[in-house]
Symmetry: C2
Subunit: 413 residues, 2 copies
Amino acid sequence: MAELFKVLTLDEARAVITRHLPGKRAGVVVPIMESLDRCLAAEVRGVDDVPAFNRSTVDGYAVKAKDTYGASDGTPSYLDVGGEVLIGQAPSGQVKMGQAWYIATGGMLPAGADAVVMVEYTEELDSRTIGINRPVAPGENVIRRGEDIAAGEVALTAGHRVRPQDLGLLSSIGITEVEVAFKTRVGIISTGDELINPQEKPYPGQIRDINSYVLYGAVADSGGVPRLYGIVPDDYDKMRMILERALGENDMVLISGGSSVGARDIVFKVIAAAGKPGVIFHGISVKPGKPTAGAFIGSKPLFGLPGHPASALVIFELLVAPLLRKGAYPACAEDFAMEFPVKAVITRSLHSAAGREEYIRIKLKVKEGQLFAEPVLGKSGLINTMIKADGLARIPSGKEGVEAGEMVEVKLF
Amino acid sequence: MAELFKVLTLDEARAVITRHLPGKRAGVVVPIMESLDRCLAAEVRGVDDVPAFNRSTVDGYAVKAKDTYGASDGTPSYLDVGGEVLIGQAPSGQVKMGQAWYIATGGMLPAGADAVVMVEYTEELDSRTIGINRPVAPGENVIRRGEDIAAGEVALTAGHRVRPQDLGLLSSIGITEVEVAFKTRVGIISTGDELINPQEKPYPGQIRDINSYVLYGAVADSGGVPRLYGIVPDDYDKMRMILERALGENDMVLISGGSSVGARDIVFKVIAAAGKPGVIFHGISVKPGKPTAGAFIGSKPLFGLPGHPASALVIFELLVAPLLRKGAYPACAEDFAMEFPVKAVITRSLHSAAGREEYIRIKLKVKEGQLFAEPVLGKSGLINTMIKADGLARIPSGKEGVEAGEMVEVKLF
C-alpha cells in the first residue's frame, strides 16, 4: 500500500496540502483584547480619520510657516503670542499672520497654523511676544489629520495575526470587537505498544509517552487547541475507533508513531482507510522526518508523524504549525525564506545526502558579535537534543552537506 | 527635579534595574501542560535513567558486534535467529555468540547484544538463519540506558522557559507537575487630558487611548498578567491615588504619557513621590524613547513610558519585556546580542546622532535569498509605523548612522 504513494519534497507536500485546504471559514467575534495572537477573519478599515485633526508632535508654538522663513539666532522672527491651545480641547481661536499660539505635544493645531516651532528654538521676550531662531517648513512637527489611518483605509488585512500594536490601532479607530478565525482543534494520538503514561512506572521494555506532550505544547504554541487521546495500542480496530472519534471532535488529527515497522504499517492502514479524499503523500524527503504521511478526510487534515520525538517536532514545525498559525499556508517561496530568518556560521562540517533537505538541531552562540550555530549531535530518538537546541539550521536538498565556517539559515524555536 | 537624575544608556539602565530586582521568589506548582511558556522556579533533575534500558533505533537484528566483523555482500556473516524481541516487553532470553534476535525500532536490547544490524543489510536464508552483509560497531543503532537523561542529571535549569519539547522531557522522566514562577501582574495607567476610551467619539482635540491597549498586548505576550487602570487626567492628586492602588494590586506598574511637557512633569512628580528607593533613572539615550523614567517602590519596578505609542512599545521591548519573560534580566552582553539575531541589509542610508542608540522600525523583504530591511519612516506619534513594521533594526550608539547596503541587526516583533 505504501508503495502506491510517491515520496514528496517538503515544497511538494506543502503544495498538495494547500490544494486540499477548505476555503474561508466563518470566524468568531471577540473583544479586541481577546484577539491578541489570533488571525483576523475579515479585514478592518478605518472608520474616521485618525487623528481627527492636525496634531502637534512637540511642545512649542503653532505658526504660519512662512512667518518663520529666514529666522536665525542673529535675526529672530518676532511673533505675537495669540493664545494657548489647551490639551484635549479645540483651540479658542485661529492663528493670524504674525501670530504664534503656544501648543503642547498632542495639542490640536489651530486653524491658520501649518507648522509648529519647537520651544527650544524660541525665546520669550515678554508675555505677549516670542522670538523664533529657526525656520520651519509647512507640516513640520505636525501629524496631519488622517495620517495614522484615514477613514475607509484598510487598517489590517484578513488573515493578519494580531500583535500588541494592532490592538492599539484598533482602539485608535474606535473598534472594540473584531472577527477572528476559529482556533483549530487538534486531536493528538500516540501509538506504540511500548508506551506508558508519565505517571506510570515503566516495566522493562516500556518507556513513557513523549510525543503526546511535545505535540500538545507545539499545537498550543501555534494557536491551536490541543486535545490528547492518549496511547493507543498497535491494533487496527482500536486505532480506527479512536481516530474516528478524534476526527469527529476536531478540525485536524495528528497520530505519532508507532516506532516499529509493524506499528507504522497499522497506522498507515488506518489513515488510508479513514475516508475520502484520503492519503495525499506517504514519505517526505526531509531528514529527520521521512516516515510522515499526510491525508485529508473531508476537509480535515490528518498527519501520521514519525515516532521519534525530534523527527515529530521538526515535521510539526515545517508542515503543521503554518496551518495552525495562518489558517492557510505560506503562499510563496518568499514566505518560506522568512521562516529561516537567522543567519549563523556553522561550527562543524556535516555531510548530507543530496536530494533531501536536512534540518540540523543547533545551539546558537555569540562571539565578537557574530552568531555561530553549533550542531547538537544525537539520535533523533532522543528528546534531549531538542532540549539543548535553540533552533534548526536548514541544509537545502541541492547541497551535499556544509563546511565548517559556511553560513546557514536558522529558525529559532 | 528631573535635573537630579542622569540620562542613562540602555545598558546602564538595565544594570541599575537588575541591581534593584528582588531575589528569588517562591513559585507555584502546576501540571506540566500548564507550564508551557512559563519559567521554571526550580531546576528539574532526572529521576530514573531514560531510557531505562538499551533501545534499538532501527528495525533489524540485535547481535554481538564482533559476530559481524568482516561481513560484506560477498562474504556475509551467517547467524542463527535466536528469538524475537516483542515491543514493550523484556526479551525472553539473551543473545549468545553466533546468534541474532529480531528487534523492531524501540525494542529493548536483549542481554548479550551490543548493537543492531538494520534489516536492510540482512537476508533471511530460512526461518532460523540470516546473512549479514555489513559489520556494525558496538553501540551502533542503539540508544544506551540513560542516554537521554540519566538519573540525577539536571534536565532543565531554574529560570528556563518551558517549550513544547520540554514538556516531552518532563513526561519522559515521569514528572507531571513542576514549580513555575508566578506571572508578574502589571498595572497599566494612561495619562493625558486629550485621551478618551475607544468606545467614545472624540470631540475636537481628543484622541482615543492607544497605549493602554498596546501595553496590554505587550504584557500578555511577554508572559505577564496585564490590568488596565484606564485614563487618568493630568492631575497630581488623581494620578497619585490611582498609582497607589495599582502598586498595591500589582508587581509592576507602567504609566504612559502624558505627551505634553506639563503632563510629563506631573507624571514624574508622582513617580518620584511614590516611595523608596524611588527614581533610578530619568531619561535614556535611546531613540525613540528618551523620555523614560525608571523607579523602584520597594521591590516593585515602576516605569514612566513615553506617550508616543511607537516609543512606548520600543522601550517596553527593550526594558520591560525581558523582566517579564525571564523574571530577571539578561545577565551578560552575550544575551543582549541574542536579542537581535536577524541580520539584514538595510535599503537606505539613515543618519543617527552619535552617543545614542537608535531603533529603526523596518519591514523585512526577501530577494534572491537575501534578507533586506526597509526602514518604515514616520513619526513616533503614529501607531501605523509599528503596524507596517516587522521588527526593529539597531544602530549602535558608536555609529553616526548606516549606509544603504550595510548589514544591520534586527529583532522581529
